[in-house]
């Protein structure tokens, strides 16, 4: 009973406990002489505890958003640490930096009023970033969606994700700004076209999914919605026949076993890992996730399944589920259209992104390269996710404070 109250009253204790367990296992795995592991774990836990108390003291709204994304980050960091200590440590740095952005985006979102007035800015910035990537981008793993700055690379699509949500929200707040809905639709499809041209199918699916869902909720013309659905199906078919790499994706999804050493290599290695893990997993450090290609980014979920078992994998899915559910509740509590759509957009983006990548690595849907939010290794996606959920944190405060704010508008 006492233990239960300890976790219920102070849920941060759950995170401390999980970190303690994960990093103790890592410590054993790396050998007792390596003090960097407890050091890293201690550092991470310290950042989390400090951030948690900041959120509590400043009554920044819903505390569980932070708790869940931190729990997911912990699991990701532990897994990355196990795969390669260097990546793990860098990810802790990214987490720290991400939290800075989290508070910044929280503050800036609340501080600046009238986010809904910059429709043109969102469009120009989004398309501009795409054009920039298109002309100056670097190709990594078959997708031209990276920009190289000195030693590091970043993915502009991660930033465009947020601009895109703001653009859609601003449009539905003042639809008359774009004269006709076709102009709006045109701009949406330009976004998606750029992603297709960059061969970033996962992002293209994600952008379309988010758009069509919000369009479903806020567009009043049923006919227009149906036209969009039909058009997207046609585009899907056309691109299947026109683009060889999409055909390959579909074929390897339908039967990866035909070419295990070739085209089906990635997905079959992922399935081998999941299958070898069984229900309870091999245990942290006892599996062979190093056999999986791209294991620290796209395929990190397979590594989690191998070492923590299907039950570990399901636990991760449920964490996302709770996160998405809380965000939906926040969305429903907001009255003002722009903020409501921003909240909805962020929620859907991360719900769909999770589905697309987990569904891909377990062969439920065709595999597309996209990161698993908060868990995959990578600065761009982690920082953009923290920015997005910083905004969500701000929105949660707005939804808790009641709708005093929409009077200001």
């Amino acid at each position: 009973m006492k233990l239960g109250r300890l976790f219920v009253k102070r849920p941060i204790n759950i995170i401390i406990t999980v970190n303690l367990l994960l990093f103790s296992l890592l410590y054993l795995f790396h050998g007792v002489a390596d003090y960097s592991v407890p050091l890293a774990g201690g550092l991470l836990t310290l950042i989390m505890v400090i951030c948690y108390y900041i959120i509590l003291k400043l009554s920044m709204g819903d505390q569980y958003i932070f708790l869940i994304i931190s729990l997911l980050s912990s699991i990701g960091i532990a897994m990355l640490y196990r795969l390669n200590p260097e990546y793990g440590f860098r990810q802790i740095t990214w987490y720290g930096l991400g939290m800075v952005f989290y508070f910044l985006s929280y503050g800036i979102f609340l501080w600046i009023k009238g986010w809904d007035r910059y429709l043109y800015l969102y469009i120009i910035a989004g398309i501009g970033l795409f054009l920039f990537t298109f002309f100056f981008g670097t190709t990594i793993k078959g997708a031209t969606n990276w920009i190289r700055i000195g030693q590091s690379t970043l993915q502009p699509a991660e930033a465009i994700k947020i601009l895109y949500i703001f653009f859609i929200a601003a449009y539905f707040k003042y639809p008359e700004k774009l004269k006709k809905p076709y102009v709006f639709l045109g701009i949406i499809y330009i976004h998606i076209l750029f992603l297709v041209l960059q061969r970033d199918m996962g992002m293209a699916m994600l952008f379309f999914g988010v758009f069509i869902s919000i369009f479903y909720a806020y567009n009043t013309e049923v006919r227009l919605f149906l036209i969009n659905i039909l058009a997207s199906i046609m585009i899907g078919f056309l691109s299947y026949f026109a683009m060889g790499h999409i055909q390959v994706r579909i074929e390897t999804w339908l039967n990866p076993w035909r070419d295990i050493a070739g085209k089906g290599y990635q997905i079959t290695q992922s399935l081998f890992a999941i299958a070898s893990g069984g229900f309870f997993g091999t245990g942290l450090g006892l599996g062979r996730p190093d056999y999986i290609p791209e294991v620290h980014t796209d395929f990190i979920f397979s590594a989690i399944c191998e070492e923590f078992g299907i039950f570990g994998g399901i636990a991760v899915i449920l964490l996302y589920f709770i996160l998405v559910y809380r965000c939906f509740k926040i969305t429903l509590n907001i009255k003002e259209t722009f903020k409501k759509i921003v909240a909805l957009g962020i929620t859907l983006t991360y719900a769909y992104q999770t589905f697309i990548i987990i569904g891909g690595v377990i062969k439920l849907i065709p595999l597309t390269g996209i990161t698993l939010p908060f868990i995959s290794y990578g600065g761009s996606s982690l920082v953009s996710a923290f920015i997005a959920f910083g905004i969500m944190q701000a929105l949660s405060r707005i939804s808790i404070d009641g709708e005093g704010l929409d009077v200001i508008e």
Binding site: A217, A275, R288, L318
Partner: protein, 468 residues
């Protein structure tokens, strides 16, 4: 509809997506994972294999047939008797995969089936090798050795089993190979057109010739109304085709017993006409032709394929074990065993016991049988088969002091050179062993070529008492 309601729809959709993920993952783990994990491309398997002391395979009395030796940290699979067990036990080789018992019971030998998570964790932590389960076969090493001696340099197969339990006592297929030297021999083995890698006893299918006649005899006895007395003139015309006997002068007047003893083709062909298609198909089905023998090792199903029904000539052909009848030597031995075992056919067994590395019995082997013909019919056929050896074509299988029942077969086939067959059981009054010998494209009659081999094997088994 307002947007609030539509957002709730989106909540449903998102929830559904997450539940689908969980559902699919669970489904995958329950139904697909074990197959996927055992895929040979899964490198975890190799790592696991390199670190596993595969279980030892023994004969029924504990003679080591296959074992894994720890040679300076390198695990080596060794087969102390070389060629002797090649077709039964097969091989487990990094490059060439697995065959035989090594393939079929791989999970047992690797210890996949019995390991607990705790035991696995313990082994991982102390850095010990994984250990697989040991397998005791039903084979008798001495009998196996004798069988190999008897068939060496020939092409064919010998199988001996216990009629009352279905336990395989010896099984040899020739030509064979040495599983210890696959690296050097592989390309030669694959290219050899005598197919040394094929287990002729279990997966080779051949026309049985006259050795199938006991089955037809059983059907005739069951029917009861078939006229069995006949005056054989050496040939018979059925539906325009002339079918002749090995003995062109004819056997003269004979009954069913005599027809079997001298192996009279013309009378069997004639009796089959009276017996009719229905009863022939029925007896073939009951003797499991065309169905699984339910052995605990891999076998090919024997077959008798007449999808458009049987003509008069087809009936005649099947009655003398020709036509589209294709039998494995194992199946023929089981037919002899069924006659010997009062009409009950036992499921063939080669696994006697499986034991965990800790010495616990892992799996109990079930002994199952099925009545094919009544014990009266079986007893009558048995008497006739004893007569075949005592006074007929099976003369070469006689053993002083031991009653042997048998049936010869000389089967025509597409190679143009006849196969020699002999099926037998002994002792006649209390059968302890049933045998089938097949000599592929031997060119001699079964009585001349196969019967002496069966005799030597039975004599060795019974006189030396090396049965069980």
């Amino acid at each position: 509809m307002n947007s609030h309601k539509k957002i709730i729809h989106l909540i449903f959709v998102s929830s559904l997506l997450f539940l689908t993920l969980i559902g699919y993952l669970t489904h995958f783990q329950i139904f697909r994972a074990s197959t996927v994990a055992r895929n040979q491309y899964n490198r975890r398997q190799w790592a696991r294999e390199e670190n596993t002391i595969r279980g030892t395979i023994y004969d029924r009395n504990g003679v080591i047939i296959a074992e894994t030796i720890d040679d300076n940290q390198q695990l080596l699979r060794s087969y102390p008797f070389g060629n002797l067990y090649s077709h039964v036990v097969g091989y487990s080789h990094q490059q060439y995969g697995r065959a035989g018992i090594e393939a079929q019971y791989n999970n047992q030998l690797m210890g996949y089936t019995s390991e607990g998570t705790v035991a696995r964790l313990r082994d991982r932590i102390i850095g010990e090798h994984y250990k697989g389960n040991h397998i005791y076969l039903t084979l008798n090493h001495q009998l196996q050795q004798r069988a190999l001696e008897l068939i060496q340099w020939k092409t064919g197969g010998i199988v001996a089993l216990n009629p009352s339990t279905g336990e395989i006592l010896a099984m040899v297929s020739a030509p064979d190979y040495n599983p210890n030297t696959l690296n050097d021999d592989w390309s030669r083995l694959v290219e050899d057109n005598r197919s040394p890698l094929l287990n002729r006893v279990t997966t080779g299918l051949y026309p049985p010739g006259s050795s199938f006649k006991p089955v037809i005899a059983a059907a005739i006895l069951e029917a009861g109304d078939v006229e069995t007395n006949y005056d054989c003139t050496g040939s018979i015309v059925i539906d325009g085709y002339t079918l002749s006997d090995l003995n062109p002068r004819g056997h003269g007047p004979l009954d069913l017993r005599r027809s079997l003893v001298v192996s009279c083709n013309t009378n069997f062909a004639r009796m089959a006409q009276e017996l009719g298609e229905e009863k022939i198909v029925d007896i073939a089905k009951r003797f499991k032709i065309g169905s699984d023998l339910k052995a605990d090792f891999n076998t090919s199903d024997s077959s008798m394929k007449y999808p458009e029904g049987m003509s008069a000539t087809d009936l005649a052909a099947v009655a003398i074990g020709q036509g589209k009848l294709q039998m494995s030597p194992l199946h023929m031995a089981m037919i002899a065993a069924t006659i010997a075992n009062d009409g009950v056919m036992m499921e063939p067994r080669i696994i006697r016991e499986m034991i965990t590395p800790e010495g616990r019995v892992e799996d109990y082997i079930s002994i199952n049988g099925e009545t094919i013909v009544s014990s009266e019919i079986a007893s009558e056929v048995r008497t006739m088969m004893v007569a075949v050896v005592e006074e007929g074509t099976g003369w070469n299988a006689r053993i002083p002091g031991i009653g042997v029942g048998g049936k010869t077969g000389t089967a025509e086939n597409t190679t143009g050179v006849t196969h020699g067959w002999f099926i037998a059981f002994a002792p006649a009054d209390n059968p302890q062993i049933a045998v089938a010998v097949l000599l592929e494209s031997e060119g001699q009659t079964g009585g001349a070529s196969a019967a002496p081999i069966a005799r030597e094997l039975i004599r060795f088994a019974i006189e030396r008492g090396v049965l069980y």
